[in-house]
Assembly symmetry: C2
Homo-oligomer: 166 residues x 2
Amino acid sequence: MKKPRPVEPSALRLENQLCFALYTASRALTRAYQPLLAPLGLTYPQYIVMLVLWEGDGLSVSQLGARLALDSGTLTPLLKRLEDNGIVERRRDANDERVVRLFLTASGRALHGRALSIPGELACRAGYEPDAAGLKSLNRLREALEALTRRLDDASTGRGCEADDP
Amino acid sequence: MKKPRPVEPSALRLENQLCFALYTASRALTRAYQPLLAPLGLTYPQYIVMLVLWEGDGLSVSQLGARLALDSGTLTPLLKRLEDNGIVERRRDANDERVVRLFLTASGRALHGRALSIPGELACRAGYEPDAAGLKSLNRLREALEALTRRLDDASTGRGCEADDP
DNA sequence: CGATAACATATTGCGCGCAACTAAATAGCG
DNA sequence: CGCTATTTAGTTGCGCGCAATATGTTATCG
């Protein structure tokens, strides 16, 4: 009979945890964005939604949700707030009354210009040189995070891990 | 007079955004942890708190908050829930009635054993080899995130960026 | 000692995320 | 056609994060 392999107690030390680094970095980024987004009247998740709509509007709530990995429980109230603020319009599709299509209003489109400088401003505040190898390192970090996300989503979908004997 | 330097419209494309990759990866990680933590009766932020307390209890709410970059608005209700679940005890410091010190109960300590295998299990589910160079790449990712967090916190503390002329 | 400032935690309010469930519309099938 | 299954949003409930504020405690200064 096999004993479950022993686990080092240090496995749970906070500073060893990728999970904690990721959790903290994500919150730090949201905090850093907040003062830049406040003048536009946007929260950070609202800004993420606007990034998609600025690329092209008219998509449905579920298409937006697929892009962002968010469901209607999050998006519906968020989009209603954007609509209340006059930035977004929600219209039922005439051919399929189930789907709600999302459109930018004039002021929603106008926000795009004011948002353009935000990523650069944030990178600058964080001390990244705009043209240096720092850009390359940011890209590598982004790719590593995307790879991690893919693996984690697979892990959530699948169940368990292979045991000792196949 | 200098024009503000033009910004590429692609600056706002979603797939170019480190911020989106980080936001998505953080949520994916929380989702991946959730089925492993549910048997312990812990949410992901509660697990992060327990990681600190397992390293040593008796610390104050503000010390815990400094470690996690969380304030009492988040921690107080979270800790009350842990106390209601019989995992943590909150005691006012006898020498300073302002501070609340946090202690593990017996069942809180007992949870530690059940939690030890979680990081490895998750790494395995995500397809990382436990002893391969994959471990090294996870460490590099963690260090990159920690460096980013430090820079972002500096950016949040400080104000603005240097202009074109010093 | 008494007033006041500084400090530690608690409370309130709001906006996510997400699970679970509901409601309405369409698709598909006998 | 009628009935069920599927699809799409919306709703509810709960637990964060975090800003703003309140409450109670200790320190400081005259």
